[in-house]
């Protein structure tokens, strides 16, 4: 048991990190992620955003960058920079929570389908196929509209619609592991199926799951931004997508209030780029077929 777990020990992670850092793609991705997590985690502590701290009069709305507001003010006269910091937190939080749901569902289905094969596999894979071909965004919009603008709803909706790809990938890997010698051997020693899955299969598919998870985060953050932008976000918890939504409906774009819509726009761009770069780099490292290419 202990030897199989070695893939995920700290030693293993250090190894992956070193590999990532050596890959230019991974290095840039890691840097971007470090900066964004700093913005999301540390900055709001020092520059908290109070949504009730609105401007005093008409001259304080949508004003450009100044001494008091380094990134100008929004349509209610609130500080954009502070909003940007706390928006990063919400965007990242929703993205990561949704990804956790998606990963648990996706890898669970993938492992079970791949391990048990046969009828269960067929059944689970048809469900997966269904969710794979369902146009996710319109469905998210519909579900978001039905269940209301609540951050939990948004996390659920995104999470439960983003898992099929993970399930597919994990299943194919599990299928190949299933054929290896150690499975019948473990069985002949009296291991139950669940135990084999837990101690032999899962640690082996873990790198794949991690690589895929990183890519899913990027997708989930984008989905959240899309939903929020079209007005289905939680108006009480401002994310970068919600910021874009409010800047759009308040006419900030026509007024040329760039300080309001550019920061969240670039924020989303960078965070997605960061996760995508790291994800691909990680995939390259873990996938033996890519080894030597980098």
């Amino acid at each position: 048991m202990s030897r199989k777990d070695a893939t995920l020990t700290t030693h293993g992670f250090k190894y992956f990190l070193r590999k990532l850092w050596r890959d230019p793609m991974g290095r840039w991705g890691l840097l971007i992620l470090l900066i964004t997590s700093f913005v999301a985690v540390i900055c709001p502590i020092f520059f908290p955003f109070d949504p009730s701290k609105v401007g005093v009069d008409a001259s304080s709305i949508l004003t450009g960058p100044s001494q008091t507001h380094w990134l100008g003010s929004d349509e209610l006269g609130r500080d954009v920079l502070r909003q940007f910091f706390s928006g990063a937190r919400i965007s990242l939080f929703v993205g990561i929570m949704a990804t956790i749901i998606s990963t648990i569902v996706g890898s669970g289905i993938g492992v079970f389908a791949g391990y048990y094969m046969g009828r269960l596999d067929g059944f689970l894979m048809r469900i997966t196929d269904f969710f794979l071909v369902v146009p996710a965004l319109p469905l998210m919009i519909a579900l978001g509209a039905i269940f209301g603008q609540n951050i939990t709803v948004i996390i659920m909706v995104i999470g439960f619609l983003s898992w099929p790809r993970t399930a597919r990938i994990v299943r194919s890997q599990t299928l190949s592991l299933r054929q290896r010698q150690f499975v019948p051997r473990a069985k002949s020693l009296g291991s139950t199926n669940l135990r084999i899955i837990r101690t032999h299969i899962t640690p082996h598919v873990m790198p794949l799951i991690v690589a895929n998870t990183i890519l899913v985060v990027a997708g989930c953050i984008l989905s959240e931004a899309t939903l929020s932008f079209i007005g289905l976000g939680d108006p009480d918890r401002i994310s970068w997508g919600t910021m874009l939504h409010f800047s759009f409906v308040s006419g900030a774009i026509g007024r040329g209030a760039w300080w309001y819509f550019l920061p969240p726009g670039f924020g989303i761009l960078f965070i997605v780029l960061g996760f995508t770069l790291v994800g691909h780099s990680f995939e390259k490292i873990t996938n033996p077929r890519h080894r030597g290419e980098s």
Partner: protein, 561 residues
């Protein structure tokens, strides 16, 4: 304006073949930092000007229905006023002028109308006094629809000859209902039961008005075309189109380009920018309109609104928590007036202005005192007050996502309410959902909303009539029902002595103001704008060039060069 020739000098015209690199460069250029704004402008400059005889209106929300008995949106009323005539109408001076009736004489409990000759319906059927009798009888007898409040004292309607219609009431009438009730064709409507009338979609409306119905694409556009057989002076416009622009910037841009001739509701944040544009004239007019925060006090069994809304103390505390001046400054960029009563100052001496201690506005200390006294002094760890049985004072707020002033009002209200320990959770919805949610008679599933009212007439009776018990199922959006208020309404509508009527009207406003079912937040300034190259001769009128209870600007504008 840039002529068409200049566009052939543009660099991309010389590159008929687009290779990938030039495409990427173009894409990059358009998305570059300054791109967004200038991109829109660039598109605008290239648009070719088409001189059209259509008056193209751009606005923000869709109309509801073509059924003149049930329409509640200002958009619906506006479009129907082109299709249907009334007995009388408002001129550009907002005074009564003849329409289907050439004369109206009020004596005692009766009003006698002399009816115009030679009027036909859009489908060719001749118009007659029978149509008028049918319309008034349907509303009066059954107290049906949004205009029933004007026929509350109805006794009978008769046509002694084919040029005269006599309306009889139980008492004298201060307001002439001929100004507000559209006349519908008896040959189409009379076969329907009252229930069928309330549910009728009237998808192809037939009227006698200056314009006949053309097309409607729900959520997009409605058009009407000129009725050449109309009895009045023919308008120059061959038709009118009302198109919906869901985004403020797009609407402003369309107006600058001349794709839209006039827009009745310029958002305050866009207004100052438009004012500087030489292609556009932007005006700020006094209005008969307000935006308010309404609270669900429905007593219907199926109501899933928070029952705490029935507690006047909570409603008043919310009133004291609201900071109207802040809303005017921030949500409306200063282009509105802080409000109070349900009538706007434009109604002259009818307007009730709370003073001194009577003012329910921006007084968090008073709000806290009221809540403490009413037994909501316990607070949760989040600072939100609780009832004695431990329920949080937490309410849902809904408003239309595209009406940005309402969204901002709700956000500001949320912040000030939280300071007195009341939690408001905001949800924004589209305009269709909003109307059907608020007006859900059997199961109103909401606590608080933000939207507004435009007066349909230059008389206090329209807005005062909104919260009547008889308007539940009609205009009454909060399901308010107060017999004292209803009584006063009937009294004022029969009071011909101006001073006495003013006194009753003031009393009603005070009563309704203190009940705090409506927190009237702002009196609107009508921010409207038109493109200078489209039509000329728009006349500024209090309440709006268009989107007002006079339709005359549509009929009197002249085609520009």
């Amino acid at each position: 304006m840039v002529s068409i020739e200049s566009s052939s000098n543009q660099p991309e015209a010389q590159h008929p073949v687009f290779n990938r690199r030039t495409f990427l460069q173009a894409a990059l250029a358009t998305t570059a930092v300054v791109g967004v704004g200038s991109f829109l402008t660039a598109c605008g400059v290239k648009t070719q000007k088409v001189v059209s005889k259509l008056i193209r209106v751009g606005w923000k929300a869709d109309m509801d229905t073509f059924n003149p008995f049930t329409t509640v949106t200002t958009e619906g009323v506006e479009i129907q006023s082109m299709i249907y005539d009334k007995l009388l109408d408002y001129g550009l001076d907002l005074q009564s002028e003849p329409s289907l009736a050439t004369k109206s004489v009020s004596a005692g409990n009766t009003i006698t109308y002399t009816i115009r000759d030679g009027v036909t319906w859009h489908d060719g059927t001749p118009f007659s006094v029978k149509d008028i009798v049918y319309t008034y009888e349907t509303i009066g007898k059954n107290q049906l629809g949004i205009n029933a409040q004007f026929l509350a004292d109805y006794v009978s309607v008769s046509a002694p000859d084919d040029k005269t219609v006599v309306l009889t009431f139980t008492r004298p009438q201060a307001f002439d209902p001929g100004l507000v009730i559209p006349i519908v064709p008896a040959h189409i409507w009379s076969t329907k039961s009252t229930d069928e009338i309330s549910k009728f979609d009237n998808l192809a409306p037939i009227g006698t008005g200056p314009f006949a119905f053309g097309t409607r694409k729900q959520g997009q556009i409605v058009t009407v075309t000129r009725n050449d057989k109309w009895w009045g002076t023919a308008p120059e416009a061959s038709g009118i189109s009302w198109a919906i622009y869901s985004n403020d910037d797009l609407l402003a841009q369309a107006l600058k380009n001349g794709e839209v001739d006039i827009t009745p509701n310029v958002p305050p944040t866009v207004f100052d920018g438009l004012k500087k544009d030489s292609a556009v004239t932007a005006v700020e007019l006094d209005s008969f309109s307000f935006h308010h925060i309404g609270m669900n006090v429905s007593k219907v069994k199926g109501s899933t609104g928070n029952p705490l809304m029935h507690d006047r103390a909570i409603r008043q505390a919310l009133g004291y928590a609201l900071d109207r001046n802040q809303i005017v400054q921030i949500a409306y960029a200063g282009h509105a007036l802080p409000a109070g009563s349900i009538l706007t100052p434009n109604f002259g001496d009818y307007y009730y202005e709370p003073k001194g201690d009577a003012v329910i506005d921006n007084n968090p200390a008073k709000a806290n005192a009221i809540l403490d006294a009413a037994g909501y002094s316990a607070k949760g760890s989040d600072g939100i007050r609780k009832t004695k049985d431990g329920k949080s004072l937490s309410f849902r707020v809904i408003c239309t996502a595209t009406t940005s002033v309402d969204v901002r009002t709700a956000q500001l209200f949320q912040a000030t309410a939280e300071k007195v320990g009341i939690k408001l959770t905001l949800t924004t919805v589209d305009s269709d959902t909003m109307a059907s949610a608020v007006y859900n008679l059997e199961n109103p599933d909401w606590d608080i909303f933000v939207w507004g009212w435009d007066s349909g007439v230059n008389d206090p009776s329209y807005l005062l009539g909104v919260p009547l018990t008889s308007q539940i199922g009609g205009n009454n959006d909060v399901f308010y029902s107060n017999p004292v208020y209803d009584d006063l309404f009937t009294k004022q509508s029969a009071e011909l002595d101006h001073t006495k009527r003013v006194a009753i009207v003031q009393e009603m406003q005070k009563l309704f103001y203190e009940d705090c079912v409506y927190l009237v937040a702002v009196y609107l300034k009508k921010l409207q704008a038109y493109n200078n190259s489209g039509w000329t001769g728009w006349t500024n009128v209090a309440g709006g060039i268009i989107f007002n209870f006079t339709r005359d600007n549509y009929l009197k504008v002249k085609a520009g060069k």
